[in-house]
Amino acid sequence: MIARALRLAAMLIIAPLPLRAETLVTALSTERVSIESNFTGSGVVIFGTVERDRQTVARGAPYEIVVTLTGPLRPMVARRKERVAGIWINRTSSELPRVPSFLAIATTAPMADVAGNPVRARQGLGFDMLPTRGLPDALPPVRTEFDAAFFRLMQKENLFSLNEGSVEFLSPQLFKAPIALPSNVPIGWYTATVYLFSGGVLLAKTTQDFSILKGGFEQAITDLAHQRPALYGLAAVVVACFTGWLAGVAFRRD
């Protein structure tokens, strides 16, 4: 017991004075994006400051910021067409059990300059390091041709984007990261993650949640369609019959 207390005391004395690392304070320009009937895309800005005090070590390298905005995780399947009896049909496929439905990455500098592959692999940071099966690992994930197709197609649909250099330092400590939300942005909970790097080392990381929801009317229709499908179907038929009847009356020529 005494020996243990002594050992603890010795450790405290030997240990150097704690050098405090930077802390990151971040805020979102909005906590909720609402999709109304005239929605054609939107944007969200992530603000942040790198907080430091007198005990913070002096860094030889500048601060680099990486911001990721990740949409709800979903199971996806990638399929490949092959020629069978003269026509092109889906033959082989590969499941991607848990991949983001949206991923926007914004940085202060080219990704390769911000951090090396081992650091980014451990964080699953970047299109080349994002795990498509399982969790981030020390080694970069193995990519199949289906994974490559997934990343290519998601970027083509504007659901995945990488904007190197779009994060801007307004002062030595204050930065902002504007991220565009395309018109086809998926609905659900999003996580904004901010990484602070210096000299290739991860110093701090914050996460913040926000939601993208449909507006009142759009949500009411979706809720009805999913929660009361039979009633919704009946309503759709009634609306269609009524429109047809109205047209028949309005354009009656005999």
Binding site: I35, E36, S37, N38, F39, T40, R74, P75, M76, V77, A78, R79, R80, K81, E82, R83, G86, I87, W88, I89, N90, S93, E95, S101, F146, A149, F150, R152, L153, M154, S183, N184, P186, I187, K214, E218, Q219, I221, T222, A225, H226, P229, A230, Y232, G233, L234, A235, A236, V237, V239, A240, C241, T243, G244, W245, A247, G248, F251, R252, D254
Partner: protein, 307 residues
């Protein structure tokens, strides 16, 4: 002006939707067909997922056929009994179609089956229509009347059991081909997002020998019943009917149909059939080209379960 479609989860230009509805409505008014076989591919080509396109077009077909049926009911040119037989069997076919639709989507082969069906049906019907119309036009120019094919009373269809009398159509035929035809059209309607009028009309005339005056009204009644059920089923099981999308198409469609009907009345029957045949054929060819030509992107991604 963009309109956000809540079920399709994407915005689309309102005037584009109204325009597509109006253009297809114009053609359907001109030729007296539903136009689903044009509207569904148009929506798919413009980026709406096939699932939502097929299901939402069925609601538009309901509106179109509802206004048509009313007009024909006023003229008393609908065989209600025959329409009822076709509708009930159509509903059975539709239920199977909705189920097959979901199963094919699950294994990723829905798109190719839809494309193959379009090629097969539109190609066949288009060629038949065009050939028949060209022969009629040539015969008319030569002044030689085309040999009229008398309704053959001794066809194999007449020999089938379970005969039923349809007074309005002056027919005494077996219920089996009626049920088979209704079920087949209902199945295709649910699977392909088409009303099936362009298949039903010639089938009623040439196979069942229904008088031509009664064919259109009865077909519209069957389309209305079957597609109302399909809309309901797609909503209840696949949840893919977008009422906002459907409504925009309906409004454009009913207006376009009025103008199309006026143009259609001023054209000759053979010319009209030739144009419709060529139109049907070209849509079929479009699908055929997509199937045969090597696609630029071999890969596709989709969500597992829903969407």
């Amino acid at each position: 002006m963009d309109l956000y479609l809540p079920i399709a989860e994407m915005p689309m230009n309102l005037f584009l939707l109204l325009g597509m509805g109006a253009a297809v409505g114009f053609l359907s008014g001109m030729f007296g067909v539903g136009g689903g076989f044009l509207l569904t591919p148009l929506l798919i080509f413009s980026g709406i997922s096939p699932a939502v396109a097929v299901a939402s077009v069925s609601s538009q077909i309901v509106a179109n056929s509802a206004s048509g049926v009313l007009a024909y009911l006023r003229k008393k040119t609908v065989d209600l009994k025959l329409g009822l037989y076709l509708t009930l069997s159509g509903i059975i076919g539709s239920a199977i179609g909705v189920w097959v639709y979901g199963a094919l989507r699950g294994v990723g082969q829905l798109d190719v089956v839809i494309a193959l069906c379009y090629v097969a049906f539109l190609g066949t019907i288009g060629v038949l229509m065009a050939v028949e119309a060209v022969r009629a036009i040539i015969a008319k120019q030569r002044g030689t009347p085309l040999p009229v094919r008398r309704p053959g009373q001794h066809s194999w269809i007449a020999g089938l059991p379970l005969r039923i009398r349809f007074h309005r159509s002056r027919l005494y035929i077996s219920a089996l081909p009626v049920i088979a035809l209704g079920a087949a059209i209902g199945f295709l309607g649910a699977l392909l997002g088409i009303g099936g009028g362009f298949i039903m009309v010639p089938a009623l005339i040439y196979l069942l020998r229904v008088p031509t005056t009664i064919v259109i009204g009865t077909t519209l009644l069957q389309t209305l019943g079957t597609m109302a059920f399909t809309t309901f089923m797609q909503s209840a099981t696949n949840q893919t009917v977008d009422v906002i999308l459907g409504l925009a198409l309906m409004v454009g469609g009913v207006v376009g149909a009025q103008f199309g009907a006026r143009v259609g009345q001023s054209l000759r029957g053979e010319t009209l059939r030739l144009l419709l045949g060529l139109l049907v054929l070209s849509v079929g060819l479009r699908f055929a080209v997509d199937l045969v030509v090597k696609p630029e992107e071999l890969y596709s991604i989709s969500r597992i379960g829903g969407g």
